[in-house]
Amino acid sequence: MANGSLTHTFSDGIMPETGDILMFLLTVAWLLPLAGFVVEVYWLCYSHRLNKGAAYVAVACIGIGFLCSLTALLYWGNATKWAALSEPEHHAHSASHDAGHGEAGHSAEGHGEARHEHDAHAENADDHSHSPTPAPAKKYYTGTYYELARFSGLRVSLDWYIDSLTLVMFTMVTFIATCIHIFAIGYMHDELTEEYEDHEVHLHNGGHFSRPGRFHRFFAYLSLFSFSMLGIVLSGNIFQVFIFWELVGLSSYLLIGFYIERKSASTAANKAFIMNRVGDFGFLIGMMILWTSFGTFQFGDRTEGDHTHAGLFTMVRGQEGKLDVSEDGKEVYLQDAYGHRAEKNGKPLSISYMLLVAAGLGVFAGSIGKSAQFPLQTWLPDAMEGPTPVSALVHSATMVAAGVYLAARFYPVFTPEVLLGIAYIGCITLFIAATIALVVTDIKRVLAYSTISQLGYMMLAIGVAGWGAALFHLVTHAFFKSLMFLCSGSVIAGCHHVQDMSRMGGLRHKMNITAYTMLVGVIAIAGLAIPGTSIGLSGFYSKDAIVASALAYSELNPGHILLFIAPLVTAGITSFYMFRLWFLTFAGTPRDKHVYEHCHENPSIMTTPLLVLAVLAAGCAWGGEGGPLYRLIVDSETVPAAARVASVGAAKVILPSHDGHESDVHHVHSTAGTLALISAIIGMSLAYLLYVKKTIDPNQIRQQFSGVYDFLVDKWRFDSLYETMFVAPVHIVSAWCVSFDKGVLDPILHSAASLTVLTSKWDRAFDETFVDGLVNLVGTVTYNVGNSLKVIQTGRLRQYVMWIAVGVIVLFGALFTTIPK
């Protein structure tokens, strides 16, 4: 299956088949859900609708998948002797090394001294790090499943690409998916019926809509989603990413529109799919640029026979991870797998710098769509129409994070300009989403907006070169956000599908497990920690890292201070609205007696996943940036991300170096952490004052700032804006097109036709008058002549004789006159 063209140049040798084994394990984990999907779709063909077996199949598939990925992770760890965890230093060194002379030629003058002192640090690092510093090495395995197509030189294939990031993502996704599958068994229990009455759908005859349950179908969709998501993670080339990108879009479409009879649900599904397509439009453009100027889609290098074809990353970054920019900064020379400039029949291959920027932005547009960044963020809140487990798995933990994953995976191709763009997009998104989350009362939508905002954090982190921080936050966020969504799901299930927080309150007495696991999640996302000590839940560490890189970035580029202010403020807002959510839901006194009385704690099949996830949400980031998780992630960090890089393009920015005790980030780390913590605590205490102590009445504020409030409630009026800006025009234009067909093209044809008819009419007239007339004329003339000659026919014998005689005479006379004698 896999022509395992492995590329690994580890200094400490590994058995070459490592890659094959990893590939095998992950492939199994990847394809099992697909098999599950097929089984579950046709569940009714061989089992009963009320049978839970479909769910068990799904859980089994994804669970085995989790085990496979975990095994793969451990195997990889053994194979690399956990090098990733043990010695963090050589990254720093190589990084600073590169920063030192690698980018020297290109760095802006203004920061010369900064660089020098940095170099000095690099020397010290060299002294007290005893391990020899090997050349920066590729730490990935890649290979090809099979070729989709091959056009003379070009080649499109399905590949696999495995490094620590892949493994971490696999483990995380499969684990969370398993939890959520199990939770869903309980949550979707009421679908196990022949007559499911849907109270949200009103038929025209007034009654409620009722249908047979769709238990098996839900799990089929979940399995399909898991398959597609894992496909993204495993993809070895950007085209393949696009393929599964669309497939997760499809499964998300199916899951959002799971209640197909609800207009709102199907509309939301369409919205999600189409907005993703808008992003994919940019993605496609980016792919075109790459495809046309690089001629390959592959991430990693591919060895075929004795020749190694450079992958995208190598072509752009080369071996040392430097852009090979021409003097005028207009062209970027592509590099081959051997550290030279790639050449094609004599002349060096190159791509214009602006085109490279465009490609980066294009690919990032895909991420924007998928992880609901500004300006395509509006679909995610609507996506909450789907069942809550879906929101937990697809629209918080995994799929929306895929955008971040792609941005991170594609980091080597991004130029500083692109990164700047990413940073600002993330910055705007996180602020907008957080502000909207302040006023929403639907429990799931609060979480949705917080998701958008957190994704904004991650994007921002990538934009400010906080590569590791971004992925770090991605994983932690996946845990605590899925946890919170499941909690909210549990609440909704317990309260019989009431989602409005204003009708809840005091629920912690009724459902304490949910309440306290939720609290864990809230604290985690708020990034709270015990002041003084840097001991906190997962969110603390990851957000800490992000804010730190943001601060470092804004220090190096004072012009972009906003990139630090926004996340800092938003950290406070985040903790405010999260605690608001918790207080409104679980604390205080019940606002709606009816809801309160009927609500109940859920069975263990739903609470167990909560507990498990709670533990992980609390502890997955243990050790912060020294901890195993961060190490694992950063191990596959591409070299330049760790180094300080100066842009050579239009935007003069410097990317901070990090990771290591002397990096830019490290200097500002403690400061950033403190600031973030303070703002978080402020937010929390505000929420406490407003919603528990009631010292200030939120309603008063609401009335005072009614304009702002409405604006926020309207989600910054994005929907209406897009409605007027895009949807309506499209319908108008399409109406134009049709009327053009009906009003212009068809009439042309018709007039041509009628013209022909007219001509033929003329032709007929011509025939009937002229031609026929001629014939008739001949006839009549002959008749008249005969008629006039018949008087000669006297019938009188003697006259005839006379004529004969005369005739003879005339004849002869004529003869004699003519014939010469």
């Binding site: 006297t794 019938g795 009188r796 003697r798």
Partner: protein, 103 residues
């Protein structure tokens, strides 16, 4: 007057012929018309015989003349029958009455 030659006979024939024609053309009496026919035939006969006498036509001339005579007799018989019928139908033999063929 010199040797009687071919032309003399031919002239006689011609005269006979012309008289016959004129007779046919002028006589209203059917019988008279028949006589004109006879005259014409005789004119022809004269010519035939004259040619058989003066040229190398030889016997053929006379033979044909003989046939002409015989046929003329036959013709006369039939013509008379016709004339009789004509008379029976019109109670006259004025050929000008027989103008049914007028167009």
């Amino acid at each position: 007057m010199g040797e009687v030659g071919l032309n003399a006979y031919l002239t006689v024939g011609a005269v006979l012929f012309v008289c016959g024609v004129v007779c046919m053309a002028t006589k209203r009496n059917g019988i008279g018309v028949l006589m004109g026919v006879e005259l014409v035939l005789n004119g022809a006969n004269v010519n035939f015989v004259a040619f058989s006498r003066f040229t190398s036509l030889g016997l053929d001339g006379q033979t044909i003349a003989l046939f002409v005579i015989v046929l003329a007799a036959a013709e006369a018989a039939v013509a008379l029958a016709i004339a009789l019928n004509f008379y029976n139908n019109h109670l006259t033999i004025d050929v000008d009455r027989g103008n049914e063929l007028q167009g």
